[in-house]
Amino acid sequence: MSMNVMEASGLGKRYGSIWALRECTLAVPAGYVTALVGPNGAGKSTLLNMAVGLTTPSAGGVTVLGGRPPGSAAALDGIAFVAQDTPLYKNLSAADLMHLTRNLTRGFDQPYAQTRLGELGIPLNRKAGRLSGGQQAQLALTLALARRPRLLVLDEPVAMLDPIARHDFMATVMTAMAADGVSVLLSSHVLAELERVAGYLILLARGQVRLAGRVEDLLATHRHANLEQLALAYLRETPVEVAK
């Protein structure tokens, strides 16, 4: 429990003259589903992309899995990332994607992946581009979990899904979390789905951290009945976002 899956100090990212994220100082503890919540353009994707090493910070620093630099071999080995809109190779079949992922990672759990895709009813020989949105999301998640990561990073994983696919997706995440103890860091601007799953909350608005802490503690301290009320109360304090 001592390890933090992500630590940021003074972290910032600037695109041109606009700061997508600034002065971000955080410690995300292991063992939680951590929800990164905020309106569109709050800097959620920017933060996650820096955590997985796809983007380099303009200011400050970030480490993952107990002090490792993002993008380093050790960090890549322990983190599975499902980017926004699950960009899989659309012209590859589920079987090919499994084979590709197994080739480019270590310790890929092929039996798990095959079993899971079977349970989901995803045909192995169908191209990813011809699967439904929900199936694509599940395929991406299955490939990520089969890597047996210590940290699963999901960028807006359910934004494009219908309510049933949304529920199924989060159920898979929770099962993996319970079975393997994988920590999860996910971003979302949809609050409803997070209610039951998030144990740790980070609220971002206008590129800055507004609130961070264990959900239980936050609810107790701020006297809100649930996450949605809590988040809305904080986001309302920054009127620009409400207009969106």
Binding site: M1, M3, A30, G31, Y32, N49, V52, G53, L54, T55, T56, R68, G71, A73, A74, L76, D77, G78, I79, A80, F81, A83, D85, P87, L88, Y89, K90, L92, D96, H99, L100, T101, N103, L104, T105, R106, A140, R147, R150, M174, M177, A178, G181, S183, V197, G199
Partner: protein, 348 residues
Amino acid sequence: MTARTIPARPEQDARPRPVPWRRMAWVTWRQHRIALAGLATLLGALAVYLWFTGLQIHHAYAAAAACHPASSAACQNALITFDTTDGNTAETIATLLQVVPALIGAFIGAPVLARELETGTFRYAWTLAFGRWRWTLAKLTLLAVVAAAAAGLFSLLVSWYFQPFFADGSRIPLDPTLFDLRGSAFAAWTLTAFAIGGLAGMLIRRVVPAIAATLAVYAGLAIATALYLQQHYMAPLLTGKLNVPAAAWIVSQWWTRGGIRLSQSATNDVFQSVIEKIAPVVHSRAQKVQVFTADVPQYLYQHGYQQWTSYQPGSRFWPFQWIEGGWLLALSALLIAATVWLVRRRAA
């Protein structure tokens, strides 16, 4: 829900063994097999065409060359007919083949990174344990080697195809329109086109503009090389004799009088006045050629003029090939290294 502790892992996890390089072989094949099939189809179709028309050309040349006696008018005519009819076909084909390396570079090299960046799949590929700079290096190197090897094999056939035109002396060994299609140059140009494509894809991040940029940059480089670079690979030889060796590639020619170089217009004036003096009336085209290439120069040599020619001898074909192949190989390595470097320290 209970928070769970992460099980302790052995210390070596902090510095994991890299995923073996060979794992990229299947990945590269699976992702680019359609492009590679396209390459095989293009070169295969051209090879079949070159093989059949090449056989005809070789037969036609063999027939003309076997003509006896060789100095007879009929035999000379047979050779001239061969040079004009088959030579024209060959000229067209040579022009078409110049485009092949550019096509390979544009359609195989440019999409390697541009497609990943355009569709967002780099977020998947580059967060796998293999690591993104190794992924880029492995992919570009594998595809570059395959493309260059295919082009190298293909250019053997091209060399065979054009062989009669070198045998009959209608083409000099360093002929600029054919130089890049033979020897090591064709493979080297293909490699360079591919490397340009790879870098363009990384810089532009969209497939179609990257393809267009690759074609443009390649064309610029190839034309600049042919116009300004090739003739300076080695210092040209200089002769003051009228008879320049037959296989020489002439770089430049000028006239002097008493050691002083004449300008082009002055030379033209001198020629004009001499022609009016020694051959005021010209009856035929053949006579005109005779006057220009033999009579006037002879006259001028007798009157204190001298023609100077700087040229590259035909024996320099292979040195020139290795020089061109060498700098193109170095350039390609540099372009691929730059691409890998950009991927490694990319800031999205």
